[in-house]
Amino acid sequence: MVKNFIYFLVFVLAIIAAAELIGIQAISIGSMTISMLPLVFAIAIAMILALPFLRKGILKKIYSKKNVDFASKYLIFIMLPLMARYGSDVAPQIREILQVGWVFIIQEIGNLGTVLIGLPIAILIGLRREAIGATLGIGREGELAYISEKYTLESPEGRGVISLYVIGTLFGTIFFSIFAPILLDFGFRVEALAMASGVGSGSMMSAASATLVARVPEMESTILAYASASQLLTSFIGTFTMVFLAAPLQQFMYKYLVRGDKK
């Protein structure tokens, strides 16, 4: 058992080393540049090697139940130093942030985009009550708790939110690290994109802001400060936005969108 944990540690070091040695890779598609950071390679390698058909011999020992449980139980603690780092990014810029404080609050309302854009698409491709769970938010713990309390997780709504949770957990960081710089190419200001990065998931925010930093390194301190300040705000008022704005808007739009369904 202790031996398996040592395998686990060596494996983690090996993936970090591999990811860092691959480094930052820029892929150009037309006029767009997608930069892949070591963090993307790290999660990709760790997930690919975990595919069930590869899990033999040493990999089976590395991905033992104990080790995987350890990783998921303590992931949040592994993340804490990153959150502490954000304090040092926000502090020197606190004045500027407070000056445009209202912009931070306004852009929180943008989190309704999950409903505004996600819900019509979901209805269009034939989802019904699952769509409630799948579009209320980005499917993190907050939405999971809300949906399970209101509908239970066995309901269609529950299935929707769990599916989104799984997809977000697996691909959320990769998605945001690719998507954020694409918007940069569409002409968005990097400050606005940094602010928008506080979507409510620590790892997704880090992925989005980290690729922005890779693209505009001279703005590193501003990007990290804005992203983490917005993330902090989301963790404070995100629940309120969900309960008092997203959920009622969703109910209203849902009734309107499925009204043609009856009989």
Binding site: F8, V12, I15, I16, A19, E20, G23, P38, L39, V40, A42, I43, A46, A50, P52, N67, V68, A71, S72, L75, F77, I78, L80, P81, M83, A84, R85, Y86, G87, V90, A91, P92, I94, V100, V103, I106, I109, G110, G113, T114, I117, G118, A122, I125, G137, I138, G139, G160, S163, L164, V166, L170, A192, L193, M195, V199, G202, A207, A208, L232
Partner: protein, 161 residues
Amino acid sequence: MSPTMRRYVRYALVLLLSVALILFAQEIKLIKNPDSTPITSMTFVGLGILWLFSFIGVIIADLMKLVPIKVIRDFPILGWVSITSLTMCLVSDFFVEAIQAVDFLAITTPILTVAGISVANRLVDLRKTSWKVAIVAVFVFAGTYVCSALLAQLGLFLAGN
């Protein structure tokens, strides 16, 4: 050792593992790119401070569980750590300087490695999720990001900044 004590020791060790992995990532990063953030004595101080603030945040989160206000009880540990660190960094620039000696991207790589391993057994759950939700997920993630960015862009424009 009491169970609470033992729990804290475990947290302390996991946090130690976390900062050790960051140091390792920064070291490898330097091999790949000698121009990246150098490892100096300040880096070690910075890592120690990150460890300390994280640990303080954990304790605060635990204490706040006793507060009768739901929002405060439910506030994530991640948030408490940010607030602890922000407060301390506002108090003294020394903390800022030390923490900034730790490479930002080197902090993210170990986290995503552990995140990748932690989802290993959920890969099979993917089969249970419908492809429809996968399509919706793209629009949900893109939707929240684009809408927030649009509002932020507009806001910054109106703020004349």
